[in-house]
């Protein structure tokens, strides 16, 4: 027995997996087109780490709480989750679905997401669902580096004349989407009750907002950063307009020949 498992907890883990997967996918799309070679390698490598987290979480979902069931989960069962053609079965946040055409947006999203991700893993570090606690420990060994990467770039770019303005404009665009990361899935209440997570994710939103303010040192008063009175949460059941094209890009090879066996 590896911990509690039911349909609610499945929703809870799936939402985390979908976020990690799409964030990883978006980062890796910068390979070959990031501002310079070294950054190109670093950013797509960080994306690969996120894809690794997603694979770990999808394996927990596919194994119904036990990723080592039957000697490990068949990759095809992970693919069925990761490339699910039905948008209604996804639980991703709109932040990770959004198309970012320029580097400033990609970098700001990287920072916003990873800052929230740290808080998210902390909530499940002592999870009663043992494989999830294990995934949290593993993820943090990589995440400190992701944050150092994002902070290192922002340290250099925010004070620079043109770059700083572009980054702050990107922040203004992305913040309304970023707060949606904290929207709970329907199963979160159950996940808290069974100790899979120690608290609702949006209880960490004030801490995240403090870090955003400290990092960007700007006037964020126009953005609603309070957990209680922001716009009605979607419950992560609706997909944004950007999701369709993103899923098509991800499924491009699969869709070439739907009958092929991988």
């Amino acid at each position: 027995m590896t911990g509690p498992w039911n349909a609610d907890i499945r929703e809870f883990v799936l939402a985390f997996a979908d976020d990690e997967h799409l964030m990883g996918q978006q980062h890796t799309e910068w390979i070959g087109v990031a501002p310079f070679l070294e950054e190109d390698l670093a950013f797509s490598s960080i994306g690969q780490d996120e894809l690794g987290h997603a694979a770990t979480l999808y394996a927990i979902v596919a194994g119904e709480g036990d990723p080592n069931r039957e000697g490990g989960i068949d990759d095809r069962r992970l693919d069925a989750l990761a490339f699910d053609p039905d948008p209604s079965r996804w639980r991703s946040a709109h932040l990770v679905e959004a198309t970012t055409d320029d580097w400033a947006h990609a970098l700001v999203r990287h920072w916003l997401y990873d800052t929230a991700e740290q808080l998210r893993w902390e909530l499940v570090a002592e999870s009663t669902l043992e494989p999830l606690a294990g995934a949290a420990a593993r993820a943090e060994r990589e995440e400190w580096f992701h944050r150092r990467h994002a902070d290192g770039l922002l340290d250099v770019l925010l004070p620079a004349p043109g770059a700083g303005d572009r980054l702050r404009a990107a922040l203004t665009d992305l913040l309304p989407l970023a707060v949606g990361l904290f929207d709970p899935v329907a199963g979160e209440v159950q996940a808290v009750a069974s100790g899979v997570t120690i608290a609702p994710f949006d209880s960490r939103m004030p801490e995240w907002a403090d870090r955003v303010r400290a990092r960007f040192d700007g006037d964020l008063s126009s953005i609603d950063l309070s957990p209680s009175d922001r716009a009605t949460p979607t419950g992560r059941t609706t997909r944004s307009n950007a999701f369709g094209p993103l899923l098509s890009r991800m499924r491009e090879v699969l869709d070439l020949d739907p009958a092929a066996i991988w």
Binding site: F36, L37, E38, E39, L41, A42, S45, I46, F145, R148, H149, G152, L153, D155, V156
Partner: protein, 98 residues
């Protein structure tokens, strides 16, 4: 952007070896980017980065004059020749020719 030279070393007896170079805006990002450019597959346990500006460089005119002094190359060739000659002399005479 600054250019850094990258040196890697595995734990154990091997020395630091030059692995390549990279561009980065400052030392902190140079470390971060070196890790992703040169160490993604656990190529080493230790890392040195040297800002190329800090290298003391000897140009080729300075280095080349020592390229024409074969007498400084002790490759053992003349000793080997002498030993071979003595060995063959011994073979034909059956005597100790040393």
């Amino acid at each position: 952007m600054k250019r850094y030279e990258v040196f890697l070393k595995k734990d154990g007896r091997d020395e630091y070896r030059h692995a390549g170079s990279l561009d980065a805006p400052d030392d902190e990002l140079a470390l971060v980017l070196a890790r992703e450019s040169y160490l993604r597959r656990a190529e080493a346990d230790r890392l040195w980065l040297v800002d190329r500006e800090h290298l003391v460089v000897g140009n080729t005119d300075f280095v080349a004059p020592n390229a024409d002094k074969p007498h400084r190359h002790n490759d053992g060739e003349r000793i080997a020749e002498r030993r071979k000659r003595l060995r063959e002399a011994q073979k034909y005479t059956g005597e100790d020719a040393s």
